[in-house]
Amino acid sequence: MWSRRGHGWRIAALTTIGTAIVLPLVVFVLGPNMPPGKGTPVATSQVTDNTVLLVVMTPFTVFILVYLGYALTAFRAKPGEEGLDGAPLRGHFRSQVAWLASTTAAVLFLAIFGTTELLADNGAGGGAGPNPVTKPGGAPLPVQVIGQQWEFTYRYPTYGGVETATLVLPVGRKIAFHVTSLDAIHSFWAYELGVKADANPGVDNIAYVETKKISTFHVRCAELCGLWHGYMSDTGHVVSDADFASWIAARKRQFAPVMKYLPKYSSSYNPDPTFRAG
Amino acid sequence: MTEFAHPATDYGVVEEEPPALLERNLLIGSRLWASSLVFFFFAFLFAYFYLRSLNQHGLFQPKGVSPPQAWGAVVAVCLAASAVLLSWGAVDQRSERRGLWRLKGVGALALALVAVVAQVVAWSTLGFGPTDGGYASVYLGWTGLYTIFVVGSLYWLETCLALSFRYRDEPFGRAEVEPGDASGDDYREAPDIRNAVHLNTAELAALTFTWTTMAVIGVVTWVVLYLA
């Protein structure tokens, strides 16, 4: 029978070796492939964030799995031991303190790291309410996202408040999405941009992002909003400044007839009926 | 270990429960229920302050939406008085003045009924309807659920009074009733409830606590909805 101290050393050694093998894989193989890809600085920092989470988790995960595997091999009842009990151990102060200390350190690190990332990235692409705590410098291009049952439409207040059915953004610009809804709760999720913000009626939910490269991204509704929730998807484009200018001009021409009926641009809308339609 | 094909009981060897168990259960149960009650109305308190702080489109409390102050005060005062009266009655019961307790119990019941009636009158003379903003919603929801709970608690008070009236001639500590499943268990006698007066005292202690909690919630309701 091996000594108990021997068990401890072996588990520690296996955990160290396992971590040493897994950690580089996590950092160099898994990490760069974490979602949502490196489409925008916000998305890139989410990838970094995910990688850091994985790195912090790795030693704990490896330890628990190594321990489980080891325990099930070494501590199985051998034939002939069926009637016997194990050692009456009721705790071990030092290992409990060590566990508490290491998990506390990990948790505090994660909370501080997450908060820094959140503030540094101006909300990290998540909806930050009508008055975000941190705002990006410069003047971001405001784009209003209007959720309704069951389509997103978009308004560009700096381009005469033109409203469109597709989302096109200029490259290399800071964008401020102003997400609102006309009826139920929707959620504007631009996956590759790393943006998600709930669309609530009467609320201006702001999310910041900076476009980095010319690309296509997917927009989906991420909050159950009724019958056609599953069909509420869309494709958006990040295009060059020139393409954007010609696109928005074309939209202004196309939607000139309806412009006179659109309400004045507002952070949220209050259309009829406000109660039950009658 | 012996195996039994059909579980059976030799009641001769079955030990009785400790006699004070029912009283302890009722007391603890009433305290736990009171904590539940607080959370029932915490939701409305939260709703009130949340909607008030949001004040969407300025519609939380539009002009002209104001509660009926007089009726609100009647409800709160009656409930508070009822709780005080009932607590006083419980002291009488413990001191073997059961006649006095019955008197005060009936008084507490009547006061609470007045409160319920006053609330109904308040609803029917409201100057606003359910569609008139956040405050109107909270007012109706909160007072509505609260009144349901008051009526439920009144039922409990009524059972205490009914028991006390039925066994009013029994001397304290005697009033033997048929052994049975008062504690919900068919299989053993329940010495703790063989005595109706004892049961009455225990229930009254528990009810007093719940009823006082209800009254406190009622006063808080009044302060928040009418005074704040």
Partner: protein
């Protein structure tokens, strides 16, 4: 062992078990059938036109669907097949084909929540016709419904019947003598796929924001377009 002693009992158990499994099977079968049940698909007849193969889709919208559906008060689209109107909102259309749509609208004006949807999109020629008059956009307050297949980029607002128009339709299906607006347009189906179509006007009377009931039920103001 027990089988030898109680063969009859085992047979009973097997019988009960088999019955149970059969009943459960039947119930599950019914359940699955119920879930799969929807409106029957409708295939509009092919037509020959100058620009090549095309199909004609003739629809009417009614304020209350009446005896044609379980929910008599709900607003609905109807299709015309062999000269008779019936309720189907699941349509099969050929791919890459022109679809000539005629909508007879017998319903009043509801108004769009988002006026942007009052402009037609995705049509051949960019415009649609109201009673023969080519139009690009209508006043959002005049909209009664929309015909929209967002997956194909098609949206057409449907003009509502004026409230003071004579001969308002009472019972669905509505005869052509009653007041109506005729909307005609043509769109091209793209590649094969399974699309949804819906109405964007909050026309579900009595529901919050006009968007419950018929607006959220396949078979009334919602359906599928199967492009094959």
């Amino acid at each position: 062992m027990r089988r030898a002693i109680y063969p009859a009992r085992v047979r009973t158990k097997v019988a009960i078990l088999a019955t149970g499994v059969a009943v459960a099977g039947v119930l599950i079968g019914l359940y699955v059938t119920l879930l799969a049940t929807g409106p029957a698909p409708y295939t509009p007849p092919a037509a020959q036109a100058a620009e090549g193969r095309s199909v004609n889709l003739t629809l009417q919208t009614v304020a209350a669907v009446g005896k044609l559906a379980p929910n008599e008060n709900w607003v609905s689209y109807l299709v015309r097949e062999h000269g008779t109107w019936h309720r189907s909102t699941v349509w099969t259309l050929p791919a890459n084909t022109l679809v000539h749509v005629t909508i007879y609208n017998f319903d009043g004006k509801s108004g769009l929540r988002n006026p942007f949807l009052g402009q037609a999109r995705g049509l051949v020629g960019g415009r649609f016709a109201i009673n023969g008059k080519p139009t690009a956009v209508i006043d959002p307050d005049d909209a009664s419904h929309t015909f929209a297949i967002p997956g194909l980029g098609v949206i057409v607002p449907v003009m509502g019947v004026a409230d003071d128009a004579p001969h308002q339709c009472d019972d669905a299906p509505c005869p052509m003598e009653t007041a109506h607006e005729t909307i005609t347009f043509t769109f091209r189906t793209g590649k094969a796929g399974h699309y949804r179509w819906q109405c964007f006007v909050p026309c579900a009377a009595g529901f919050v924001y006009g968007f419950g009931g018929p607006m959220q039920t396949v078979g009334y103001m919602d359906g599928y377009v199967d492009v094959v």
